[in-house]
Symmetry: C2
DNA sequence: CTGAAAGCGCTAACAC
DNA sequence: GTGTTAGCGCTTTCAG
């Protein structure tokens, strides 16, 4: 009655070598694109690999590998709590990475300076096998990424993509969707009241912020035309700048019914909202479930938090980097980073 | 400038064997609780393992293992779309499982019949290594699970827990939180309008449904007292039963402003709502992002869908089952199944 | 009861 | 250019 699937006889390196009439080492060379094999042989082996549907066994590879693969995380410097969470998560996967014969380090570089970032990236060439970078989508950065890729380092973009570059993968949420979702929640939470809606972002130069803004404006314009959008305030993700800016906004806009915080600096926004005494009449939606955001949700100052799970992102970036390096298969479904919506009642 | 962490020198089976003054085979026997080792030796080896902080290398173990571990998924029979999705996802992990020297099969059994389920479970004894079961929390089922556990089969509960049993793990969302979240969204979406709120569930006997109901009632009572909860309708998760029941409800309750569908049978609910012509004035929240639910969301009939990702659940159940069998470490954070909130704007 | 030894499928020296 | 060979850390016969 219980029928277990019969073993599909996996084909091994050995099988490929035999079928191709060459040695293990040659197949290995071809598979890893290493030099020292005649072009004809390469093609022949490739064909056999294809025909036999050969897939390397990752466990065996891991076991046999001597050197550790080195991955470097390049994250924004500064006081951004979410970035600190990413940093922590990198340290948390270290034991797992060690088991995979890999190591990681985190380096913090100023995101708002594209050429510093680009220089840093290029400097990584030859010093590591993979780079996971959260940076600005800027021509200099793009060029730096392409340079790395040209020298066989696997590049994965994190949180904010650089789509025109030759990076192997992007790990992060769909930020246009995130903006649309924020608009949807904000619009529905505000209800039938009319009024204005403020927007605070780090900078238009940050692709993730720009995408969220785009999605947000799109939905607000079409679905909630009775709410008027105020021009976005750029606060460089710093509470020291968002706080006075929002305070001024609150003073000026007496009909403010909603506020969308696209980036960081939420501590400042929360302070301004609380001090105004109008926190409960203003629907505030922000991103990333930091300890402060959680507290704001619990106290009712924030109405919803749209989150991307730092742990999932870091683990996914590592898996993708290693898988790309070793030619393993990835389950795309498993690597899709979902956008979490947190209300007071479903805080984890 | 780049400092990569130095290799923490892993201790291997060899090290343990040498330190304990026994052979590899003996350590292996102790580690796997196999018979044929003197009690004194067992204790000694255990102590050394402890002292050296030995952790087996899963890749090496996988590689060396001859036989495949067999896992059986026991899912509800019937026409539940979400269950079909789980079933599909099991088939989707088969290649991955094969790589891990494991196989899986799905068996569908009537959930609403505890003793049929219990009998089936007990019958699995000796025929597999792990059982993943989505079933009713009923004394007979609990006893059957305990019986399996007593015979060394790893049991993982899926979607709906049987917490009083000795199952190794539960994979699923926190259903009380899910109910609370539904209430929160429903209350906020309804806004200031007063009226009544209907509830449709499969059966109070299903623990996940009961937990959702509990969470929902909790938040509705305390946060939205202007909305009156109608007594839950039990529709056995069948559209053939939910449709007439909801039609009657709509006819009777002219002041209905919200509807919470806790379980399945949503096709019937949607049909009744649409036929009534009041779909856009009633906030409808349901569970599980099936193709129909997605369509209902897009057409505006459903206002929010609370989801648990079938793929994540199946993969997590497999990882946990295998890890438990081999004594591997699991990352609890990675195995937590999150509750997804879907609105029209963040459909994946 | 316990130990020796043969692999699992791959990588990486080193030899030809 | 290409082949041989010695392991990686564990499981699993098979001998004692």
């Amino acid at each position: 009655m219980i029928v277990l699937m019969s073993d599909p006889p996996r084909t091994s390196l050995h099988d490929v070598a035999r079928a191709a009439g060459v040695s293990l080492a040659t197949v290995d060379r071809v598979l890893h694109g290493r030099a020292g094999v005649r072009e004809r042989t390469v093609e022949h082996v490739r064909a056999v690999v294809e025909r036999l549907g050969y897939r390397p066994d990752p466990a065996a590879a891991r076991l046999a590998r001597k050197s550790r693969t080195r991955v470097v995380f390049v994250l924004p410097s500064g006081t951004n709590t979410f970035v600190d969470m990413l940093d922590k998560q990198v340290h948390a996967v270290l034991p797992w990475l060690a088991e995979q014969r890999a190591t990681a380090v985190v380096q913090r570089v100023d995101v708002f300076s594209p050429d510093a970032l680009a220089r840093h990236l290029v400097g990584l060439r030859g010093r590591c096998d993979a780079v996971v970078v959260m940076g600005q989508d800027h021509p200099l950065v793009r060029a730096a990424i392409d340079e790395l890729v040209a020298h066989d380092v696997v590049v994965v973009t994190l949180v904010s993509d650089v789509p025109s570059s030759r990076r192997a993968r992007f790990v992060g949420i769909d930020n246009v969707t995130a903006g649309r979702t924020a608009a949807s929640l904000l619009g529905r939470f505000v209800g039938s009241r009319a009024g204005s809606v403020g927007i605070v972002m780090g900078s238009r130069a940050l692709r993730d912020h720009a995408e969220r803004l785009f999605g947000f404006e799109q939905v607000m314009a079409t679905e909630y035309p009775h709410l008027s959008l105020l021009p976005p305030i750029e606060g460089q993700d710093l509470s020291a700048r968002t706080e006075p800016a929002v305070a001024k906004l609150l003073q000026r806009e007496t009909g403010l019914v909603g506020l969308y915080s696209i980036g960081a600096g939420n501590r400042g926004i929360q302070a301004a909202l609380e001090r105004s005494g109008r926190a409960d009449r203003i629907v505030w939606i922000c991103h990333e479930l930091t300890p402060q955001a959680r507290q704001a949700l619990l106290s009712g100052v924030a109405d919803a938090v749209i989150n991307q799970d730092a742990g999932h992102e870091v683990r996914s970036a590592c898996r993708l980097a290693l898988a790309t390096l070793s030619g393993e298969r990835v389950l795309p479904d498993q690597e899709r980073i979902r956008l979490d919506i947190f209300l007071r009642d479903n805080l984890p």
